[in-house]
Symmetry: C2
Subunit: 210 residues, 2 copies
Amino acid sequence: MNKDNISKSVIRRLPRYYRFLSELEEQGIEKISSEKLARIMRATASQVRQDLNCFGGFGHQGYGYSVPNLKEEIMNILGLHNRYKAVLVGAGHFGTAIAAHMKFENLGFELAGIFDNNDRIVGSYINNLIIQNVSELESFCKKNGVVAAFLCIPRGAAPDTVQRLYDSGVKNFWNFTHFDIQEKYPDAVVENVHLSDKLMTLCYSMNCGG
Amino acid sequence: MNKDNISKSVIRRLPRYYRFLSELEEQGIEKISSEKLARIMRATASQVRQDLNCFGGFGHQGYGYSVPNLKEEIMNILGLHNRYKAVLVGAGHFGTAIAAHMKFENLGFELAGIFDNNDRIVGSYINNLIIQNVSELESFCKKNGVVAAFLCIPRGAAPDTVQRLYDSGVKNFWNFTHFDIQEKYPDAVVENVHLSDKLMTLCYSMNCGG
DNA sequence: TAGATTGTTAATCGATTAACAATC
DNA sequence: TAGATTGTTAATCGATTAACAATC
């Protein structure tokens, strides 16, 4: 479905298109022009049309874009209809928040298992999923066809955990640690979220602005 | 200290330089060349030199860069010596994780107060900070010179919360909600973290990779 | 000094914006 | 039909990379 060389810049904008289109749809808005969509996206109409035309001609000349249709198209481009099986490793406050509050079924995933190495929380539940001991990680992933992992563990635990996941066939990572997965596993698909980096850039902007 | 027109691309790389330089320093490494630093950063030596030269000539010809010195310089550029007073609003699992685990004092901030609207948790503590009722938010911010807010609240609560913070003089936001702060407050400084967007792009990459 | 490596200018590449013919 | 708005090509802008003189 997707054309080959879509730039990372375009991809990063797709979830925002999807979010705004979902909101417009909820408001009962049927159609939108590239100009209006650009205003919401803080972009130019040109960029909106260029972005969308990477994937196909979703608009109608003289009319604009159908909101429900365009939303659906972007949903398909992102692949949100998938239910990629994923495990979450590290059920501290952060991992628990992720496990409990993310609507994985709307984001292309199914959270299949939660793991922690702390015996005090192993056996308790988050949203009907029992927290399992990490010693079960490999067998669980192999048995259940797990393809992705959400790493909510301390950095020190990351090298070993990633190795074990990778050896169990898990090659896609949502990585909240500072461990550089791709250095050792170049074919892994990794989405890094470095919260402290973001806070540092906020700090930088505050210095400069005022 | 900082030159004027530093591009957003460069700024986003600074925290990574800082992190890697901190690691190198911990390993007792004294100096590094742009080429070696580029390898760690997954960049070119050219880019490293261009980036660093936005702020000054930190290197020495024929030698390279002093690791502790360069780390210190980047720390100053980012302004991490600051202790910007901040409040965290929303002490659910996610807010609690942020409040408990982020090393704010290394990131330019001091977490001065935590707020929630849930009476069941108001009065309990996170890291020696009591969770206060959001009704105290404005008076606390004004009284304590709070300049930044970390928004860990549901989207629905965001418009009102931001309004009240803004009216109390808080104009810098670390925003985990999908509420678009800058639409209504163009002079606010905002760092958005949209976790679900990141998960969607991981989904996209998984479709394409295999 | 010779070798190494920076700082900086110039060349390239890619992404964004502008323009306009196509067409609903 | 006339007006609106897309799809797409061309122009511009900015970021990355290459090259090399300066210099430690």
